[in-house]
């Protein structure tokens, strides 16, 4: 067996792969946070909880209705997006004139509600979600085994992030969004329905989180706690990358996943804290974040 720094190459590549999978989820979630923050000026604390709800929707569709993975990939994000519409229309809408901190507090409350409800009905231990048959097995590359589903998650997340970037930077709708971020009053005066745009943005952002949840369901256990576990790391990712740039969120998310994977191989004790340590270093060297344009 070939070794690198005393670690079997196979194990190293396996951990890197897993790190990249985690990074894919960081990327999708921090992207959604950035999109929502740009338009609503709200840090959506409920993002993790809605990711969890997406995973549960997929689990429920499969176990209660017999609807499989592919349909869930479409239906669960729509369901989560609809929850987002309700949240925006009934609550967030009223906070627009207030300090941004209230948005954080409100969505924190929502996260607690969702987590509490799902814990009450499904307990804290995870529920398994069976992998669709297509994804069983591995690609044998000779020097390493690539589990098919992990490859799918990474490819899918890159496509998803790319599509989101394209929509925001290159389409007419994206132009409205960017304009609305800069100056909502003026855009409204030009006849664009800004409140609708805001609702759409929030629904889209949390829909992304829901989609990430469905993709995560077969890898991790579907558990009410999965949201709060990931959201704090994603916050650190957002602080590191800065929320100013779409591509920045994607790159930072993937890179931190990789670094986390590497840490697991070389210094396992630090794997849970490495992202926070990097955040501290970035705060020292570049307080506005790697891609940030704050103030």
């Amino acid at each position: 067996m070939t070794e690198l720094f005393g670690i079997p190459v196979q194990a190293l590549l396996g951990q890197l792969m897993l790190g990249l999978v985690n990074g894919s989820f960081y990327a999708i979630l921090s992207l959604g946070l950035a999109v929502i923050f740009g338009m609503l000026n709200i840090v959506n604390f409920a993002h993790g909880a809605l990711y969890m709800v997406g995973a549960f929707f997929a689990w429920m569709l499969l176990n209660y209705a017999g609807i499989g993975y592919w349909a869930a990939l479409l239906l669960a994000p729509i369901g989560v997006g609809l929850i987002g519409v309700v949240i925006e229309k009934t609550m967030l809408q009223w906070l627009r004139q207030l300090d941004h901190l209230y948005g954080l507090l409100l969505t924190f409350g929502l996260a607690l509600i969702l987590e509490g409800v799902f814990r009450e009905f499904y307990g804290s231990s995870g529920l398994p979600y069976d992998l669709p048959d297509v994804f069983r097995g591995v690609f044998d590359l000779g020097f390493m085994m690539l589990p098919k589903y992990r490859v799918w998650v990474i490819v899918m997340s890159i496509v998803l992030c790319g599509a989101t970037w394209f929509m925001i930077e290159k389409t007419r709708l994206g132009a409205y969004l960017r304009a609305g971020t800069e100056n909502p009053q003026l855009v409204q005066a030009f006849g664009v329905n800004v409140p609708l745009l805001i609702t759409f943005t929030y629904a889209f952002g949390v829909g992304l989180a829901g989609l990430a949840g469905v993709m995560a369901a077969p890898i991790y256990q579907v558990s009410p706690l999965m949201g709060s576990n990931i959201i704090i790391v994603v916050f650190a990712v957002v602080v590191i990358g800065g929320m100013g740039s779409i591509l920045g969120s994607i790159v930072t998310g993937l890179a931190l996943g990789l670094i986390e994977g590497l840490t697991k191989v070389f210094f396992a004790e630090a794997s849970t804290t490495v992202v926070f340590v990097i955040m501290a270093i970035v705060l020292l060297l570049r307080p506005a974040g790697l891609f940030g344009r704050e103030k």
Partner: protein, 304 residues
């Protein structure tokens, strides 16, 4: 005049409370009241939302419990050890966190607190999932045995009053006025020549220290220090206590803490619904009750 009367009545009530209520419950309420008051020093009087205050409360609880149990220190020294550990963490994390404003400040403190949490999960002296249990209360100054709940209550009350008066003093000092000006208009305070970041850091460290005092005292009073005390849920709880009682009021956080602790006591059988109820309280407070209980009363009666 009215205010002096109110404080006198409250003090009297706190002095006779252990003969009427259940001392252990009262001690818990007092510790959380101090914790929330310390948190309020930041959010209410400086305008900084820390989402990681559990790191001071919980870590200090661990250090105090370790000092009392393993090193065999007297309770007052154990509390001092815990408090100083919180001060140390406060200096480091505050120094990092004040580099970012507003919403980022909240995320940075939350992430740093999560780092402390994971350190506590792995450090051997915290006993991971079990926590430090059976912490001895020892003898105050080597003279008074604190094993008796009523005696312990007066020790806790003493710590609470020291912390509370300290906060009161800070808020009404020239230093406190500068903090308020930062809350109202940071750019203006800066242009008037105040080193805003330095003031923020000082407020942060003071708040961390007092939060640590509360955590250390709690570890002795209840005899345990666990991961719950350092978790992000705890950071959220103290935000809720302050929000419910009234941000930026002197008495609000204590009122909020008393209500939340009571609520948790009565609703303990409901399991996960407690989380849901706390979440709902958050949502309701933010949507329709932003002044909080004490803030609303003060507003109605035309003070401030």
């Amino acid at each position: 005049m009215n205010r002096a009367l109110l404080y006198a009545v409250l003090l009297l009530a706190l002095l006779v409370a252990p003969w009427i209520g259940y001392p252990v419950f009262l001690m818990k309420a007092l510790c959380f009241a101090l914790f929330a008051s310390a948190f309020n020093l930041l959010i209410g009087f400086t305008g900084l939302l820390s989402f990681g205050h559990a790191m001071f409360f919980g870590f200090s609880a661990y250090v105090a419990a370790h000092a009392a149990k393993v090193w065999g220190l007297t309770p007052e020294l154990a509390v001092v050890c815990g408090t100083l550990s919180a001060t140390a963490i406060g200096i480091v994390t505050g120094w990092l966190a004040v580099r970012r404003q507003g919403i980022y400040f909240a995320m940075v403190t939350l992430a740093l607190a999560q780092m402390i949490y994971f350190i506590c999960v792995q450090a051997p002296f915290t006993y991971a999932e079990d926590g430090i249990q059976g912490v001895p209360r020892g003898q105050l100054l080597g003279l008074f045995a604190l094993a008796n709940d009523t005696v312990m209550y007066y020790f806790v009350l003493g710590v609470f009053l020291i912390g509370f008066l300290l906060i009161h003093r800070i808020v009404h000092s020239p230093f406190g006025q500068v903090l308020k000006s930062i809350r109202e208009n940071e750019a203006r305070a800066l242009s008037l020549g105040y080193h805003v970041d330095r003031y923020k850091l000082m407020a942060f460290v003071l708040s961390a220290t007092i939060a640590g005092m509360a955590g250390a005292t709690k570890a002795l009073a209840l005899g345990l220090a666990t991961l719950t005390d350092v978790s992000w849920q705890m950071s959220g709880e103290v935000v809720l206590m302050t929000l419910l009682g009234g941000m930026g009021t002197i008495l609000g956080p204590s009122v909020g803490a008393a209500i939340i602790v009571t609520m948790q006591n009565y609703l303990a059988d409901l399991g996960s619904w407690v989380t849901t109820i706390m979440g709902a309280t958050f949502v309701i407070c933010v949507l329709v009750f932003r002044r909080g209980i004490v803030g609303e009363i003060a507003h109605r009666f035309g003070r401030h």
